[in-house]
Amino acid sequence: MSETDIGVWGVLIAVLGGAIRVGTPFLFVSLGECLTEKSGRVNLGLEGNLVMGAMSAYAISYYTGSPWLGVLGAGCSGLILGLIHGLLCQNPKVNHIAVGIALMIFGTGLAFFLGKPFIQPTAPHLPAVSLGFWSDSPVLRAALEINALFFVGLALVPAIYFMLKNTKWGLMIRVVGESADAARALGYRIQLIRLLTTMAGGFLAAIGGAYLSLYYPGSWNEGLSSGQGLMAVALVIFARWNPIYCLYASLLFGAAAALGPALQAVGISWGYYLFNAAPYFLTLMIMIMTSSAKQNLAGMPGEFTR
């Protein structure tokens, strides 16, 4: 009897630990996308930033021996992809979604192309902070072995929230996202602001990629990302364009992804394919339930209405 008790606790702890382990890249891409979308742009190409970031981080960490330089390098690669996205979208006739898909293809292709030599070698990893020192249970200790980047992300959440809500910069971003006409009347440089938020979003998404290659699962290969970047757009809708909800949504998606393997590890194995699709199904359901033809989603930047 006691054995099953350990099993249930094990599942819970695994899911909690997994929420952070699997959720961290989601956190970065969703924060990045949130920032971009707040200014009235959609970047569907964050998958490209993520994969490119993963590769650059691993390569730089391998060459320099410093994983933090790798993270920075990843961010810069994301900055460049964001710059291209931002510049292309300045033309009103160009479709944002198409640009996103184009850069996704380009970013992943380039990452695979340049990443060939880095599949075999092992690069230095990012450090982790052990919060489980008080516990005797190795299980709990492992679950509380929290990567440093998660704390960075955690600090970014209130920072971005505060920036958007209470600073002049945040106001400019929100006005540009809410109504281009109003922004123009106020004399804001719409294109420049959107360009900068897209670049910042690209930077963050690429750091999400660096997390994948430098911490968890912690190696570079072509199958590394399973669409975490593509999910960014859905996550932001899920989070109602609110950085704090982005954190919750990321943890929820992380937990959902951890649940399937955790249940299988204790012998509950029915329908794992459907389990794998659960986060997507959940997002769709929430979108359907919270949307309405009559009014816009709460928090949605006004520029998205047709």
Partner: protein, 377 residues
Amino acid sequence: MDKKVALQDKKVSRRSLVKTAGLGAAAVATGIASPVSLAATKKVNMGFIYVGPRDDFGYNQAHFEGKSGVAGLNWVKAFDEEKVPESIEVEKTMESMIQLDGASILFPTSFGYFDPHILKLAPKYPQVTFLHCGGLWDSTKHPTNVGSYFGYIDEAVYLSGIVAGHMSKTGKLGYIAAIPIPQVLRNINAFTLGAQSVNPDITTNVVFTGGWALPVKEAEAANSMVDQGIDVLTCHVDSPKVVIETAEKRGIYSCGYHTDNSPLAPKGFLTGAEWNWSSVYAMYAEKIAKEEPIPNLVRGGLAEGIVKATPYGPAVTDAAKSEADAVKAKLMEGGFAIFKGPIKDNKGNVVIPEGKSHGQTDIWLESMDWLVEGVIG
């Protein structure tokens, strides 16, 4: 027009092969690539096709290493293509290798390439030999220019199981697998049976990730298993890197798969099951050089050198080594059956009754759809 020219070209190359046969055979027979210059004669063109990237630390890399082995022979021209989907793409890749590169032997290495793709092309190109990795060839059904090769890797996995059984303190082993197909189930069973030969109470937890390359899910599965008290982990996915590294990080033992995984886990690595395709490809090359008929079905395990066990890691105890070595010797001799009754499946049904045993060559094992008692998942 072009097609005809290409076909004639092929005939020439086959004929000229006869002339070079003696020289080439001498080189291969001794196992050393001879520096004898054969520049004047045509080369044998071999095409290799992989379903994933050729440097994935796993299945595709094992084949790529095999290809690199024969590519060194100076009368072989070997070329390859990676990431070819199991769809009409592979048909076109094979045709392209035949028509544009003059391939006379093709090695499509993924299981799903066989039916319908190889079977569709083989009658169209009777002068080309299609050698498929998967062991599916059946003389009653399939064309004669098609052949199959495969290794009984479960023999090496069984040895891993013995070592794992010795080293496990909790009596709980973990197996991370892609999808429940016969090949995977056979390995899981062999691993469990090997461990149970040491301690009949041992159980194996299985997680199916649902895909061949899902690194995050594999890492999650590995972590969950460690949390459940599993202390030896192995896997059957395209690239074992993530699983082995995660096991090492969490401080438990691991057994490798596909290639030599020992560098991934310097402390906790026990042993592993590896392919040794270069021996198979060299064998084919030798047959071709000697103008001997190419066998349609090549299968073998440890004894034939198609699979091998990775050298033991530092943690393995002498007791484990000696028992695994003893079983290995028996497997090499032949006559040792891994699947020997009585075996019950994990639903309680008797699948192999007392007194009956299925040798490695038994085709029945290749449609395995059950897991032995003690496997959870």
